[in-house]
């Protein structure tokens, strides 16, 4: 089965990406080390120094943008803070270290403040706020007299500590290379570890990440602080080498420059921004055009990169190489692998992580999940008007059914913490969950999956399951590298079938070992075989004492899995009982069938996108309620 998965094209693409990235890293280090040997003039070394400094800025900017999903315009602001701190410190105290300390600690604090203010909001707030931050740094530098006002700071560095007589351009260059290598290699390691995993998972699907208990805010804040401090240190090295900084260095043009460098090399490659840095430092020094032309080209290139060549230079090289070798371009080709193999893979890898049947730990600890008089209104429209029900811990399955628009999804959004209730309480045992965000509810044993099962697009199956481990233990995995299963290729979740993805999502939620799991349409849009596997997994969960709330349109699935059914209609609880009772309930039938005398089957919620419960008219007469699930209303008996 593993062999089948190996055929999926994107696996090769990711392997190639790893190889290309390793190649870029070797080239970057080699060039950085060789340049001083061959530098014909101080001008050459100066260029190399600039490439390394802007490389730090661009690599960290790319990391934030691509891996963490944070578009930060603040790198130049922190860069300037570092330069100013270093130069003012050398000027006023004769020593670099006070300034270095200010650069690191001050930048970390400022980054923390920016993160606290803007990171918990939606993406554009962060982008706008970081852009404003950079402008504010420039504006402030212009005003401060000890920072030289609009003239900036200009001093002689070579006599300065800590380098003393070693304070030559050569030694500063070497120091810069070492600093860059240390800072960036650590970042690359972090990116491969649990922090990177959480960042990528929550970038791919933030809601589901929070649903299983990942709290990306913490990791994003950490990544932002780290990258900001790195930019500040790059600024320190710039100040030492060029002995000058002024408010003019803090411009939107510089912001643009860093972002173009970050993208030009190839957005998917950690070290590729050095290619961008080299291009934008070396080329302008070789051609004689006005600065305006350079900015014009940089702006155009920036837009073009996003629009037509997201792979950048390395992407084009890798693509070209493989075209020459006659290999396919390796884009994800979901149809290549048989459906079942990916599902087997999920089952095999998730198996050991799932709670064992009848395990003593699980069982809800005697708790139940209660919704008390939940009301939700969106601007005058009542999505839910006073719904109460209870799910007992220890393996009770509740089916939540109703036509589209009846309030099912709103209900589970309230339960899992994605939508605040206008009034009413959600209680887990004795704990009122009202103020807890989804990830904290997950930590207390209430997790959820989503209907459009995208899982984590770019993570492979083992990585997806690893995110659960990260969600469970905060510290253990910080040191230990995540366990890699070398037997499987890196098939991203986006390349496996919809059924396998849904199975994977549910397996992840269950691997969290929750007391309660909320499942939003687990079998919608799945084939018969896929549904069977999902149902089997849910049976296993039930046997191990996990309780569930299932939104489900297929009534046979509800009958098969659920102990009780809650029927929602127009935001109210219409009926509650065993599946058989509910199917017979006159008010349910009346609400869904309209007239009692219907002689043919009518789909509940006719014309909706997904097949709804089909109650056949003979339910009134026959106790063994026949329910059709084929989604096709039978027009005549």
């Amino acid at each position: 089965m593993t062999a089948n998965i190996k055929r999926i094209g994107s696996a090769r693409a990711i392997d190639r990406r790893g190889a290309a990235n390793a190649g870029v890293r070797v080239v970057v280090l080699a060039v950085a080390l060789l340049v001083p040997l061959y530098a014909g003039s101080s001008f050459d070394l100066q260029l190399a120094e600039l490439v390394v400094i802007y490389g730090i800025l661009a690599v960290t900017a790319r990391f934030m943008m691509i891996d963490a999903g944070l578009l930060a315009f603040s790198q130049i602001g922190f860069f300037a803070i570092g330069s100013y701190a270093a130069l003012i410190s050398v000027q006023d105290t004769g020593s670099l270290w006070p300034g270095f300390a200010v650069a690191v600690v001050g930048s970390a604090l400022l980054a923390l403040i920016v993160a606290l203010l803007s990171l918990r909001l939606r993406g554009f707030f962060f982008a706008i706020f970081t852009l404003a931050f950079t402008s504010l740094v420039g504006l402030t530098a212009n005003q401060l007299s000890f920072a030289g006002g609009s003239n900036g700071v200009q001093i002689e560095v070579p006599t300065m500590a800590p380098f003393g007589s070693l304070g030559s351009y050569d030694s500063i260059y070497w120091a810069t290379v070492v600093v860059a290598a240390v800072v960036l290699v650590i970042l690359e390691r972090l990116g491969h570890g649990p922090i990177g995993l959480v960042l990528r998972a929550s970038r791919d699907n933030e809601a589901f990440a929070r649903g299983i208990g990942l709290a990306p805010l913490r990791q994003r804040t950490a990544a932002f602080i780290y990258c900001s401090v790195a930019a500040s240190i790059a600024g320190v090295m710039f100040g030492l080498y060029f002995e000058f900084i002024s408010p003019d260095s803090v411009s939107l043009e510089q912001v643009l420059l860093v972002l173009v460098m970050a993208l030009v090399g190839g957005s998917g490659y950690f070290w590729a921004p050095f290619i961008g840095a080299a291009v934008f430092e070396v080329v302008p020094s070789l051609v004689s055009v006005s600065q305006s032309v350079i900015w014009l080209v940089a702006g155009a290139l920036m837009a073009l990169l996003v629009l037509v060549a997201p792979g950048g230079v390395v992407g084009l090289l890798v693509g070209g190489y493989h075209r020459l070798r006659g290999v396919s371009d390796g884009r994800p080709q979901p149809s290549e692998g048989p459906v079942v193999s990916a599902m087997d893979e999920v089952t095999r890898l998730a198996g050991p992580r799932l709670p064992a049947p009848g395990s003593a730990v699980i069982g809800g600890n005697g708790r139940s999940l209660r919704a008390e008089d939940i009301k939700v209104s969106y601007g005058g429209v009542n999505a839910l008007s006073g719904v109460s029900f209870e799910v007992r811990g220890g393996g009770e399955f509740i089916g939540l059914v109703g036509a589209n628009g009846s309030g099912k999804t709103t209900m589970v959004n309230v339960l899992s913490g994605f939508v605040p209730a206008t009034s009413g309480r959600v209680l887990l045992g004795d704990t009122d969950l009202r103020r807890l965000p989804p990830e904290r509810r997950a930590a207390r044993g209430l997790v959820r999956t989503f209907q459009d099962g995208a899982a984590f697009r770019t993570l492979d199956i083992p990585e997806c399951l690893d995110t659960v481990t990260v969600a469970q233990s905060r510290w253990a995995l910080l040191v230990r590298r995540l366990r890699r299963d070398r037997r499987v290729d890196n098939v991203p979740a986006s390349a496996i079938s919809g059924g396998a993805r849904q199975l994977l999502m549910i397996a992840m939620a269950l691997a969290r070992k929750p007391d309660f799991v909320i499942l939003d349409e687990p079998t919608t849009a799945l084939g018969a075989e896929e549904s069977r596997r999902v149902i089997a997994l849910l049976r296993q969960a039930k046997a191990s004492g996990i309780s569930a709330i299932i939104i489900e349109h297929h009534f046979d699935v509800v009958t098969e899995l659920c102990d009780r059914v809650c029927v929602l209609d127009h935001g109210q609880l219409l009926a509650e009982g065993t599946p058989a009772e509910v199917a017979k309930n006159p008010s349910v039938i009346e609400a869904f069938l309209g007239t009692m005398g219907a002689v043919y089957d009518v789909g509940i919620g006719v014309g909706q996108r997904s097949p709804d419960i089909k109650l056949s008219a003979d339910t009134q007469r026959s106790p063994d309620s026949r329910l059709t699930t084929d989604g096709q209303p039978k027009v005549a008996p």
Partner: protein, 299 residues
């Protein structure tokens, strides 16, 4: 006290102009859910069109205003078709990046074509009105009049026209709008054209009172962001209130603080808003877009 009243008047005029500037940005956000980093450049293009029309071409100011509107609408439409539409369905960051790149293309294209210098624009009216000791320039009245007319026209367009209804429908739910047969792509382009026209109008309306150079767009972009964020994304009343406050605050800071830099008020506003009301000061109020205000899921 006289200085205060005089600065209040000047600040209100600037603030009124900011309404136009921010309205364009907020309209585009409300309908497309896209933050346009090139919006400041429409302002610059508008002012520049005003200069070219009234200066070298010798046309009267009202004609210059029409030209500026046309230039802004065209720029907005090009932004949508070439820089935003190809990225639909990709991450919102992709649009930030492409429009951020575009803003430099416009800025340095203009810089290379015309050079970096301050230029003045001849307005429609000279002379001034004296209210006691307070001087109100006639051009200030013209500027405010243009703002009032333009805002009125936009509201009328959104509320009372076929395309306006379509725009509001797309703002509420573009998927549903597409299902009922609205050509969503066309609505997006029209919205961008209106947004661009409003930005350019803001530029040409204030240009006789200030001056025009290729770099004004960068500061105006941040001002527009602050107003839109503080006013509650896509809330028209909030946008207007914050714009007026910001205009007055800038004038006061420039006047009363030693070596005061009015741009500081932008950032103070931004920080205060993010601290106090992260969804915008007026996030409860629903603007002309019928509550396009987005609510972030979760806590």
């Amino acid at each position: 006290m006289l200085v205060f009243w005089q600065q209040l008047v000047n600040g209100l005029v600037t603030g009124a102009d900011y309404i136009l500037l921010a309205l364009g940005l907020s309209l585009v956000f409300g309908v497309l859910r896209v933050v346009n980093f090139a919006h400041g450049e429409y302002f610059m293009l508008g002012g520049l069109a005003g200069y070219v029309a009234t200066g070298p071409l010798g046309l009267p100011y009202p004609v210059a205003v029409l030209i500026a509107i046309a230039v802004g609408a065209l720029a907005g439409m090009v932004t949508d078709i070439a820089f935003v539409r190809p990225l639909r369905g990709k991450s919102e960051e992709a649009v930030f990046i492409s429009t951020f790149g575009l803003s430099f293309v416009i800025l340095y294209g203009v810089d290379l074509a015309t050079g970096d210098s301050e230029r003045s624009v001849n307005g429609a009216a000279s002379g001034s009105l004296h209210l006691g000791a307070i001087i109100i320039e006639n051009q200030q009245l013209v500027t405010v009049g243009m703002v009032v007319v333009a805002v009125g026209l936009v509201v009328a367009l959104l509320r009372g026209s076929r395309i306006g209804t379509q725009i509001r429908a797309v703002a509420q739910d573009s998927y549903a709008a597409e299902l009922v047969g609205i050509k969503v792509g066309r609505v997006f382009s029209v919205t961008f054209a209106i947004g661009g026209a409003l930005g350019a109008l803001a530029g040409v309306a204030i240009s006789p009172l200030t001056s025009v150079n290729p770099f004004t767009g960068q500061t105006e972009l941040i001002t527009a962001f602050v107003i839109v964020v503080a006013g509650g994304m896509a809330s028209m009343a909030g946008t207007a209130a914050v714009a007026l406050c910001l205009g007055v605050a800038e004038a006061m800071v420039n006047t009363y603080l030693p070596s005061g830099d009015g741009s500081y008020t932008d950032y103070v506003f931004l920080v205060l808003v993010l601290l106090l009301r992260p969804n915008g000061l007026f996030s409860r109020s629903r603007g002309a877009l019928g509550g396009a205000t987005s609510v972030a899921a979760g806590g």
